[in-house]
């Protein structure tokens, strides 16, 4: 059933392979700059956060942010471009491939972009900065990174499906996606929030993602509830993405 998805995913991977160096250069530059500016530049002023040096505190979040951002951006722009500009989605739809197979392929493409780019940033931070973590913690970290990338890839598919104008996509990213990432404890501990807010912020899947990823990578501590929260959010968003895409295509 997923032969069509595989064909489209392989097409997307061919394009990624062709542009991998320029893509990685651009993707790595942003989190690395933030790491240098905040992690290294500010650590003398900030000191320890939750018992860890500030540069160590933000590193897992930056790697995770790169992955989920890449997943979201690839999904939203790719789907919009193929649907509204290049009309390739329409050319797929007149083949025996089903609409569900098309959207699944695009979700996997976004997810793959997220994982590859997140890992690339992780490697760069690991190799050129003092940031270190026990290698055995990686497995637990991936239990957050994989559903997190899937979640943002599905969210990108939803945005790319329902938004017809590129400027709207940019606005959603500015007022929804980035605040969701930045307000969920990427640069500061949740304890900084006023007490009444904390329980609300904890409901966000992004908070579970960034908190859980940090605990897993630095301390090797598995926050099972957070992992479940991210995974469930990814599953729900996946179902929504497939449904919305199918609905939009049937219009």
């Amino acid at each position: 059933m997923l032969k069509g998805s595989m064909a489209i995913w392989l097409r997307d991977m061919l394009i990624l392979r062709r542009s991998i160096f320029s893509e990685l250069f651009a993707v790595v530059a942003y989190p690395l700059t933030i790491y240098m500016a905040f992690g290294i530049g500010m650590q003398g002023y900030i000191g320890l956060v939750d018992g860890a040096p500030y540069s160590l505190f933000i590193a897992p979040g930056l790697i995770t942010m790169t992955a989920v951002n890449a997943a979201y951006n690839e999904s939203v722009w790719s789907l919009w471009f193929h649907r509204r500009v290049q009309f390739t989605i329409e050319s797929y739809r007149v083949t025996p491939v089903s609409v569900s197979e098309i959207v699944i392929a695009k979700i996997f493409t976004g997810f793959t972009h997220g994982i590859i780019k997140g890992c690339a940033v992780g490697l760069v931070i690991f190799s050129i900065t003092p940031f270190r973590f026990p290698i055995e913690n990686l497995l637990q970290y991936f239990l957050f990174l994989i559903p997190g990338s899937a979640l943002f890839s599905c969210a990108g598919i939803i945005s790319g499906t329902i938004m017809d104008k590129p400027e709207t996509i940019g606005k959603v990213e500015a007022v929804l996606v980035m605040p969701l990432i930045f307000m969920s404890g990427l640069f500061f501990p949740l304890s900084s929030y006023p007490q009444p807010f904390i329980s609300w912020v904890r409901l966000l899947p992004t908070t579970a993602l960034f908190e859980g990823a940090r605990s897993a990578l630095i301390a090797g501590e598995m926050l099972s509830v957070s992992a479940l929260q991210v995974t469930l959010s990814a599953i729900i968003t996946f179902i929504m993405a497939v449904y919305i895409f199918r609905y939009k295509m049937s219009e």
Binding site: A7, R11, I15, F87, E90, S91, Y92, T95, P96
Partner: protein, 310 residues
Amino acid sequence: MSTASIVTRSLTKSYSSLTALDSFNLEVDRGSIFGMLGPNGAGKTTLIRILTTLMRQSSGEASIEGFDTLLSGREIRRVIGVVSQENSLDRYLTARENLELHARLHGMERRFYKTRIDELLELMGLTGRQQDFPDTFSGGMQRRLVIARALVHKPQVLFLDEPTTGLDPQSRRTVWEYVRSLAGSMTIFLTTHYLEEAEHLCDRIAIMDHGRLITVGSIQELKDRLSGATIYEIEFSGDGATHYAALLGSMSCVMNISRMENKVTVTLECWECLSEIVTALNGAPVRRILLKERTLEDVFISLTGKKVRE
């Protein structure tokens, strides 16, 4: 087995207050080249989108090679090739990769599609450019590549939605040659704005307007369905045109008359009236009398009241 490849019965598509297709009935013979003509907004694209399963009808039935569009979408998409109005080539893939992706979407195995793609690139004159990206192609070459893509899986029915719109006359003729070369091997359903294209390519033509089928038949049948009136153009030498135009205009069998310089065009009730005209012109400086052939444009205007591109 029925000889009809495409069948619609009372096919209707409505968008709130607008009816894009209104109880549309059509049968297209297997292996024929069928042309759908209509002015902009007539419903041609809606029809083609329903037939290619991109859109669902509001009511009525449509089938392709016996498969119902509502129940057997995947089976239909296995047997059709589609050349849409938009250039839907993947600009990040080379010409060959575009065809390979399409073959894989049709579930073809590499050992089968490799030789098929070689054949198609050769047929379309694109072998030398197969490793180039479509953006570097001329409009005509891109169109040929889109047609090649639609043929990779050897479809039984090929849909061409205004296949030569925007092409220069030379590229248009090249595309026509390719389409004609396919005649008989598959059913071809094309929509077009160009009457010349329809006349050149199609075995049968349908004319639609406001979502309704107005008429269908061969080009000759459609021309014959016009009223029995015949049109002659009489060319005079010297300056007798004005005098004889007035004379002919007073005759009862002349329905309509117009003059341009030394040429007078008369519309007669029937061809039998010609002898009366010849008698009236006895001694006139007539250089020649021409029977004007009815064109498809005449048929179209008489049926829709407008030119095809209006």
